[in-house]
C-alpha cells in the first residue's frame, strides 16, 4: 500500500474519532510544547541577559571593587565572610591606580546612593545618585540632550552641579527648562547643568531615575564609605586593552597592598563576562534538564499512543480480517497501523509546535524577554513526534499483522 494512501487512511481514522485522538496525542503535544517554549525562552533570556549586562557594565569596561557587585547564584556564608574581611577600596587606592596605570584607559571613581531630589515643594523620590569624575559621561556614553556634563575643573573645585536623568527632569520641571535651575539633595542645592536623554529600562528598572554629581561634592559624604570609593570604573578602547588594564591594575593593587605571591586578591573585578557567568550556569542547567523533561512526556505520550493503537487493533479486528481476505499482506497491515500511529503523534507534535510558539509569544508579550523560536527546535520537535509515533506503533501493528484472517473475520 502506498504511503500516501496510508496517511490518508490514518487522517480519516483520526478525524472520525476526534476527541479520542486528541486525548491520545496530548502527551506528545505537551512534550513538544515544552521543548519549543523552553528553548525559545532560554535563548531569549540569553540575548536579553547579554544585552542588559553589556548595558550595565559595557563589554570593554570593568570595575575594581571590594567584592563583586552583581552576584548570580548562591554565595556561600564563608565567601561572604571573606569578602567582609577585605579592606575597602580607599580614595588613596583609587588615586594611586589612576595615577600609575600605563594602559590607555578612562577611569572614574564612583559612589552611589539613594536620595530624594527636591525642587520647591516637588519631590522626586528614590533617585539613584552617583558621585563621579567628569570622565563618567564618556565612559557611560551618556547622551546629554540638554546642557552639558560637568567638567574636571568643577570636580576639582567640588562644585555643586548635577546632571539629571530624564525621569527626574520630568517629575520636577514639567515643561520648564531645568538647565540653570537648582535642586536640593540632602539639604544641599545643586545647579542642574545637563539632562540625559531617555534610556528606558533594564531588568524592569528605570534607567532614567538618576542624578550624577561631582565626586568631590557634598554627596560623597552620603554615597561613599569614609575615605573610600565603592568602585573604580575603568574603560579601555577594546576588550584586549581592557584585559591588559585588568592585569595591570591587579599587579599595581597587589603591590600597593603588599600581598604575597600565595595570597589571594583582596579585591575583585566586575566585567560583563563575569556577570554573565552566573546566568550562563543557569542556562546550562535549564538546557541540561530540558531533554529529561521532554523525554518523560514523550515516553508517556508514546505509551498512551501505543495503548490507543492496541485498542484500535482490537476494535478493528474484523476490518483487519477483511483486508487480509482481500489480499493485504502482513507488511500492508503493519504499515497501516504504524503510519496511523506516526500520524497521530505527528499531529500532536505539530500542535505542540504551534502551542510552544504561542507560549513563547505570550512570554514575549508579558515579559521583557525577546523570546525567539529556534528553527532547529521545531525540526527536532516534529522529528521526535514521528519517531515516537512509529516506535509506539510497532507492537500494535505487529499484533494486527499476525492476526489469523479466519479468526479475525469471525470477530464482532
Amino acid at each position: 500500500m502506498p504511503l500516501l494512501e496510508a496517511v490518508r487512511l490514518a487522517f480519516h481514522a483520526l478525524w472520525t474519532q476526534k476527541l479520542k485522538s486528541f486525548f491520545s496525542l496530548i502527551g506528545v503535544l505537551i512534550g513538544v510544547t515544552f521543548l519549543i517554549a523552553v528553548v525559545s525562552i532560554v535563548q531569549g533570556m540569553n540575548v536579553y541577559m547579554t544585552d542588559q549586562f553589556t548595558r550595565l557594565v559595557g563589554m570593554n569596561s570593568f570595575q575594581v571593587r571590594r567584592f563583586p557587585g552583581i552576584q548570580t547564584g548562591n554565595v556561600s556564608e564563608e565567601q561572604w565572610r571573606e569578602w567582609r574581611r577585605r579592606p575597602l577600596l580607599s580614595e588613596d587606592d583609587a588615586a594611586f591606580l589612576m595615577a600609575n596605570i600605563q594602559t590607555p584607559v578612562l577611569s572614574t571613581r564612583n559612589c552611589q546612593g539613594r536620595a530624594i531630589v527636591k525642587l520647591g515643594g516637588k519631590e522626586a523620590p528614590d533617585i539613584n545618585v552617583t558621585a563621579a569624575d567628569a570622565t563618567v559621561f564618556r565612559i557611560k556614553n551618556y547622551d546629554i540632550e540638554n546642557g552639558r556634563g560637568f567638567t574636571a575643573q568643577e570636580v576639582r573645585a567640588g562644585a555643586h552641579v548635577a546632571v539629571i536623568g530624564d525621569l527626574v527632569a520630568e517629575a520636577l520641571f514639567e515643561g520648564i527648562d531645568p538647565v540653570g535651575r537648582s535642586v536640593t539633595m540632602q539639604g544641599i542645592p545643586y545647579r542642574v547643568v545637563g539632562v540625559v536623554a531617555k534610556q528606558g529600562t533594564t531588568f524592569g528598572m528605570s534607567l532614567d531615575k538618576f542624578a550624577i554629581v561631582p565626586f568631590t561634592s557634598h554627596a560623597q559624604r552620603w554615597t561613599c564609605p569614609r575615605n573610600a570609593v565603592r568602585q573604580l570604573e575603568v574603560q579601555a578602547a577594546d576588550v584586549v586593552t581592557m584585559r591588559a588594564a585588568i592585569d595591570e591594575v591587579e599587579t599595581l593593587l597587589r603591590a600597593r597592598r603588599g600581598l604575597g605571591p600565595t595570597e589571594e586578591n583582596n579585591f575583585d573585578f566586575q566585567t560583563a563576562d563575569g556577570a554573565l557567568e552566573g546566568w550562563n550556569k543557569i542556562a546550562a542547567i535549564l538546557f541540561a534538564a530540558l531533554p529529561g523533561l521532554v523525554a518523560i512526556s514523550l515516553v508517556v505520550g508514546g505509551i498512551v499512543i501505543m495503548n490507543i493503537m492496541l485498542m484500535a487493533v482490537a476494535e478493528r479486528t474484523k476490518e483487519i480480517g477483511l483486508r487480509k481476505a482481500l489480499g493485504a499482506k502482513r507488511r500492508d497491515i503493519m504499515a497501516q497501523f504504524i503510519v496511523e500511529s506516526a500520524t497521530l503523534a505527528t499531529v500532536g507534535a505539530v500542535f505542540g509546535v504551534v502551542l510552544g510558539i504561542g507560549l513563547a509569544f505570550v512570554v514575549k508579550r508579558v515579559s521583557p524577554l525577546p523570546a525567539a523560536v529556534a528553527p532547529w527546535s521545531i525540526g527536532v520537535g516534529v522529528f521526535l513526534g514521528v519517531a515516537v509515533g512509529m516506535t509506539a506503533g510497532i507492537l500494535p501493528a505487529s499484533r494486527a499483522s499476525k492476526l489469523d484472517p479466519i479468526e479475525a473475520l469471525r470477530a464482532e
Binding site: 494512501e5 474484523k318 481476505a325 482481500l326 489480499g327 493485504a328 499482506k329 502482513r330 500492508d332 484472517p405
Partner: protein, 234 residues
C-alpha cells in the same frame, strides 16, 4: 483437465481442540472447471466452512494437494496466499463486510489498493465493477445509506473488481429477505452467464437450486456430487 480452476486431491484438515484433535476434513477430492456454478452444502459440523476457507486460500490443508488455476497453493506462505487471494478469489460474505466509513467506490477499490494499482486506474475499474452490479448511481453512498441488497451488490462488485478466477460466496443471502435474495441470485446467475466461475456455500436448498452442481459434505467427506439438468433460473 486443462480447464480445471480447482483441483483438490485427498485434502485433510485437522484442528487441535484442547487435547483433542478434530478431523474437520477427511480426504476431499474435487475438481471444478472454469465457468462452473457450484453450490457446497452440508449441515453444520460437516466441514463446509473448513472447505470454504481452504478454497478461499484463507487456510492451508494438513495434508493433500490443492491446485488453484495452475498453482499449488497448499504449501504457500501467508504472504504468498495473500497475493493469491488478491488475484484469484473474490469473496462475498454473509454480513457484507463493507468498511462503514468508506463510500461504495472506496470499498470496491480496496482489493486494487493491495494489488498496487494507481488511484486513477482504481477509480475507473471500481466504477466499472459497480456498473456491472447495477449500482452506477450509488458510488458515493456509504453502506449505511444503502439497503441490504445494495450492500451485498457492492460486496459483489468488490469481489469482481480484480477479475478473480472464482467468486466465492459464503451464505450470500443469509442476511437478506426472500425478495432481495432472489435479486442477489439473479446477479450471480448473470455473472455466471458472462463466464464467471461461481462457488456458493449455503445451507438453504432453494438457494443451492440455482447452481448447476451441488456438492454435499457430511462428516468431512463428500457425500454427494450431483449435476442438475435444469437449474432454477433466477
Amino acid at each position: 483437465m486443462t480447464d480445471a480452476v480447482i483441483q483438490m486431491r485427498e485434502l485433510t484438515r485437522a484442528y487441535q481442540m484442547g487435547t483433542e484433535i478434530v478431523q474437520a476434513l477427511r480426504g476431499v477430492s474435487l475438481q471444478i472447471r472454469r465457468n462452473e456454478y457450484v453450490a457446497i452444502m452440508g449441515p453444520s459440523g460437516s466441514g463446509k466452512s473448513t472447505l470454504m476457507n481452504l478454497v478461499g486460500c484463507l487456510d492451508t490443508p494438513t495434508s493433500g494437494e490443492y491446485w488453484l488455476n495452475g498453482q499449488e497453493v497448499s504449501r504457500m506462505s501467508d504472504d504468498a496466499l495473500a497475493r493469491v487471494r488478491n488475484h484469484e478469489i473474490g469473496f462475498v460474505f454473509q454480513t457484507f463486510n463493507l468498511l462503514p466509513r468508506a463510500t461504495a467506490l472506496q470499498n470496491v477499490e480496496l482489493p486494487l489498493v493491495y494489488a498496487g494499482m494507481g488511484a486513477r486506474d482504481r477509480g475507473v475499474r471500481a466504477a466499472r465493477a459497480l456498473e456491472r452490479v447495477g449500482l452506477a448511481n450509488r458510488m458515493d453512498h456509504r453502506p449505511n445509506e444503502m439497503s441490504g441488497g445494495q450492500r451485498q451488490r457492492v460486496a459483489i462488485a468488490r469481489a469482481l473488481v480484480n477479475e478473480p478466477s472464482i467468486l466465492l460466496a459464503d451464505e450470500p443471502t443469509g442476511n437478506l429477505d426472500s425478495v432481495t435474495s432472489e435479486e442477489i441470485m439473479r446477479v450471480f446467475g448473470a455473472l455466471h452467464a458472462e463466464g464467471q466461475t461461481v462457488i456458493l456455500v449455503t445451507h438453504e436448498p432453494d438457494i443451492a437450486e440455482h447452481a448447476a452442481r451441488t456438492i454435499v459434505l457430511r462428516d468431512g467427506q463428500v457425500a454427494s456430487d450431483t449435476l442438475r439438468d435444469h437449474p432454477v433460473a433466477a
